[in-house]
Symmetry: C2
Subunit: 345 residues, 2 copies
Amino acid sequence: MKKKSKVTSIKDVAKKAGVSISTVSNALNDSRYVKKETKEKILEVVSDLNYTPNIIARGLKTRSTRTVAVIVPDISNQFFAQVIKGVEETARQRNYNVLLTCSYYDVSEEKRSIEILKQQFVSGFLFISGYNSFEHIKSLNDDKVPVVVVDREPGDKKVPSVLIDNFEAMRKAVNFLYGIRHRRIGYISYTYDNQTTVERRYKGYRRGLEDNNLVYDPDIVMISETLRLNELEGSREAVKKILNNKNIPTVILNASDFIAVGVIRTLKELNIKVPEDISVMGFDNILMSLYTDPLLTTVKQPKKQMGAAAVSLLLDIIEGKRVKNKNIILPTEIIDRQSIKKLQD
Amino acid sequence: MKKKSKVTSIKDVAKKAGVSISTVSNALNDSRYVKKETKEKILEVVSDLNYTPNIIARGLKTRSTRTVAVIVPDISNQFFAQVIKGVEETARQRNYNVLLTCSYYDVSEEKRSIEILKQQFVSGFLFISGYNSFEHIKSLNDDKVPVVVVDREPGDKKVPSVLIDNFEAMRKAVNFLYGIRHRRIGYISYTYDNQTTVERRYKGYRRGLEDNNLVYDPDIVMISETLRLNELEGSREAVKKILNNKNIPTVILNASDFIAVGVIRTLKELNIKVPEDISVMGFDNILMSLYTDPLLTTVKQPKKQMGAAAVSLLLDIIEGKRVKNKNIILPTEIIDRQSIKKLQD
DNA sequence: GTGAAAGCGCTAACAG
DNA sequence: CTGTTAGCGCTTTCAC
């Protein structure tokens, strides 16, 4: 009959090794010198007994469970999944665990999560994207709980963040299009109340036009509420409105790849060839952009790196390292595939 | 000057409320009756001091942190992301936290994670998909550590699991195709060493043929290694081989939507119309199947429900509830969109 | 070089 | 109905 296996504790190790528990602890943590033979003996017993220190007990003492919380609007969104991948990978490398919570774009859920986890369980928080509501995050930060924000603009340099420069990225996209002779550039975006990232892209678009002395024409710019709920339907609607102009654009620039996918689809339905008749450009570089027909030209966000950079920053803060720059901006890149046509003069 | 905020503990609450700490504990946990006024007073102080019990300390005593570990091959894979969504949602409803670890299809990573988390930190484990290696999982289960397995077939009824019936699902797919007059059904799949789910689909395909007295023709069945690494490239290769037959199939059935997407793409490149010339059917119902052209007809796996059912089961086990059925099979469903043509006799 | 013992914050058994 | 206290497993001072 198998003996009921009580988990082995440091006490068992100490007893079997014939030393005190403090010696075991010190040997295991190298927190003070332990005679070589003693240490070896201890290690032997540890492996014999298959002992693992109880993280909880240690945590109670050290006030750290080497765990960070990641709060994300929706794990099933690819963008977030990619960011989290970066988070998980580098957290693990640095020997931290990742606790995952989804807020479903609900700020009160975020607050609830914070309450549950605060100061007790996790060593820090990572907030990824979602809507721009910052009071709770700021107050965490003010309370000295380590926190970093990804893909949101806190508008307060004191809260650590990892972002891309959405403004510059979209501006560059316009310049890129201008460079290959596009002169009439449509734009489709979600509404952006509370989502500065989306707003900044739009501003970047405007600035890009100015850079090249193109006039801004509201008839070929659609900022759609419908898109929020249904990218396919919303983009269909937006495209039709844009086409309902005497002077249609040569290219439609979009605030996201999902929108761009919908745009391509609609154009196809209308028997308009991409990119021969109209070019289409996305933003994000999601997986699907490798599966559209034609392959989508887009602006790449370094999703995994964003996650990796964010935890790195967070762990540095947690461990009290000096961080020189706690507002990190990551570079974007134009991925030129097939959905943009180079025009001639 | 702000006073350095030491976290408030149960002691502070007790002192301020003028009662003992056990009364506070009992009032908060309803673990024994506390006089109404006393309780109210305590609750008041709690909210005054903004007190939250320290989960770690509680965990040390109760041996539970209300946290489960989810071990998944790759969070950026949509299938897994969806499953995790279900996990996270229902875990939260039941007041549990979710700890996320990715194994990147590496069994030794799984083992490492187990070591780190075992018996101390988390109350149970959820293993999602990946390759079929079970020794470590079985031994967890034998050690009475709550564990459930999702989308893997442990081959041992003792380990709790949540699955779909891959065999029946693919068999039904064949029968569905037969029902609309398809008589020559090609099949493209990954190799399936160690992945019984994929193997079972293949077996289901074979059985479906038998059900309808269709002969199995290896010339139109491609089990490809290349597909593992690159679905687009692999499916291109596979399609070409299949087309390199005098007698080409009327429909290509695929072991996954990703493959199907590649197949559609290749067919299009070859100027073969889907579904007019050849029909295509997928398996999984990933998001992208809503974005292909034509929309992909596929077999839906209830991903979110799988996750939800799995944690439910796990938490029941953790909480010592009687579970009647610990090997759950979830239903699949054929989603008939546009990539299949109904044939006439 | 090592051991004894305090104590992290909480729960629960025991005592009244 | 409530208080006192032991102790969960560990780290860390203090003592030798």
